[in-house]
Symmetry: C2
């Protein structure tokens, strides 16, 4: 089944302890789409400025990501983010965040997109996420991500969103901030009470936790010693997770757990390259091979 995603498409400057790169194609919807496309057709809803390089538009096209919902604003500037990772490669400082055209984005779903069954609202302003959901009334599963900025300053919209979505995918810091609860198991259950039927808490290098109607579990990250750049790993996780769900056209407990594992495997490729390089260059066969290794790792 096709998968609709709304989120940011951005230009990133990234510094790690050993390397720094400028003008990388980035953004939550970008990483998400690049992972999800291995599983299902992806329809991308976002906005960029006139400065957005044609090569990036070609890049989406070449990878069969439907970017007909990617608006190019004349005279506008593409969202920009710059970040620097600490020595531990897990913590980072955001050096600069310019929403630019994304700050004024008023998404209009092309007609074929309005019948979407599977919708993912990648990290972005809750009002934009809500706007997209209102244009996809036929959805069977809507899942969203969010971040500290919206938790702290757009809480009312976010609370409305939480009541409308089926699942929330956030990281550990966001889960603690959203609930005021330190223990992640307690935090996950507290988020469920805010609306979503299931909650995924991403723990970076430590994997991800799942809270469903009848079960709570945690799966570890796939261990890699080729950690190059963690940027977008969470979005890539979400892309693998939602991509598999859309591919199976199902979201029963068993499908969701396998989807969690695919998300983790997709994220492990993402961190092995700068920006999108890691996830962009693999094949579905590479993903399935690592998935088999991951399954094996967890068997005893």
């Amino acid at each position: 089944m096709p998968l609709l995603v709304v989120g940011t498409v951005a230009i990133d400057n990234v510094e790690t302890p050993t390397e720094s790169r400028k003008n990388l194609l980035g953004g939550s919807a970008t990483h998400f789409s690049l992972a999800a496309r291995y599983f299902t057709p992806v329809r991308l809803i976002s906005v960029v400025g006139e400065d957005f390089p044609q090569e990036h538009l070609d890049f989406f096209k070449k990878r069969e990501i439907d970017a007909s919902g990617l608006v190019v604003v004349k005279g506008g500037k593409t969202m920009f983010w710059a970040g620097r990772y600490h020595k531990n490669m897990n913590d980072r400082d955001s050096l600069d965040t310019q929403l630019n055209v994304f700050g004024e984005f008023n998404p209009q779903l092309p007609e074929p997109h309005q019948a979407a069954k599977f919708v993912f609202c990648a990290n972005g302003m809750p009002s934009i996420q809500l706007n997209v959901l209102s244009q996809a009334p036929g959805r069977r599963l809507a899942v969203a991500d969010t971040m500290d900025l919206w938790i702290n300053h757009h809480r009312q919209d976010l609370d409305t969103l939480l009541e409308k979505i089926d699942g929330l995918v956030i990281n550990d810091i966001e889960a603690r901030l959203l609930t005021g609860t330190e223990n992640l198991v307690a935090a996950g259950r507290a988020v469920q009470k805010m609306g979503p039927k299931f909650v995924v808490i991403k723990k970076g290098e430590h994997g991800a936790m799942f809270f469903g109607e009848h079960e709570t579990y945690v799966l570890p990250a796939y261990p890699t010693d080729k950690l190059v750049d963690p940027t977008g790993a969470g979005d890539t996780f979400a892309g693998g997770f939602m991509g598999y769900i859309a591919e199976k056209d199902a979201f029963d407990a068993e499908t969701l757990k396998t989807a969690m594992a695919y998300g983790i495997v997709a994220a492990s490729f993402n961190v092995e390259g700068f920006g999108i390089e890691g996830i962009a260059k693999v094949t579905r066969a590479d993903i399935d091979k690592r998935m088999a290794a991951y399954r094996q790792m967890l068997s005893f």
Copy 2:
């Protein structure tokens, strides 16, 4: 097969954000023994002072832990540790550490103990750990734990120890300190080069990683929302891990992985009570039941 353990037996004062307890029975060898006894007969080597309460000696006896190697020093004072956990229950401050009689400990293995096949040197001074190993020449598997104090100030003895042991069990902070390497996968491999055939890196609430001759893997912690006191969770992990190995009388790759899982399950009980309460009160059936749930959690 009987399992020999040398380590500390101590009195602990523990403060968590919600509760504080004084004069708890603690120490690395105590937590270790209480987990390992569910799998195999345990022979404890340690030292306490004359102040050590008789009820604790009775406690070991009642649980069939062979404490014939537990020396009581006349006029001596038992090791004492006081710690306070941060709000996140993962970080802690050591408020007081008094080695007392443990600082002068010169272990003499009772004759039946000298034929030990499985030996665990729980956290303690490397010279004491080496001393015990030299008295157990028939050992088939020797595994040790260590900590920042010995890494920073007893490095030469520790390096000698690393060359003599088959496995090292340490936590993530210690692995980074020992190797000067941030990435845990790289750190684990770097420790292997110092001598041990296998290395286990404990990550607290995030589970544990294993580095063997041919494989690297990570297993998550068993998620619990009943987190009461993490003190001794790492030693309890080691007790479950070594206990299962001694029970199976084997340490092939498959046995080691199942042992990792038993260690994780044992640790999950430990954190659900203050001090030793959590691990002391369960049964082997409780452990096996949770082990089945853990296996199920990792199946997809």
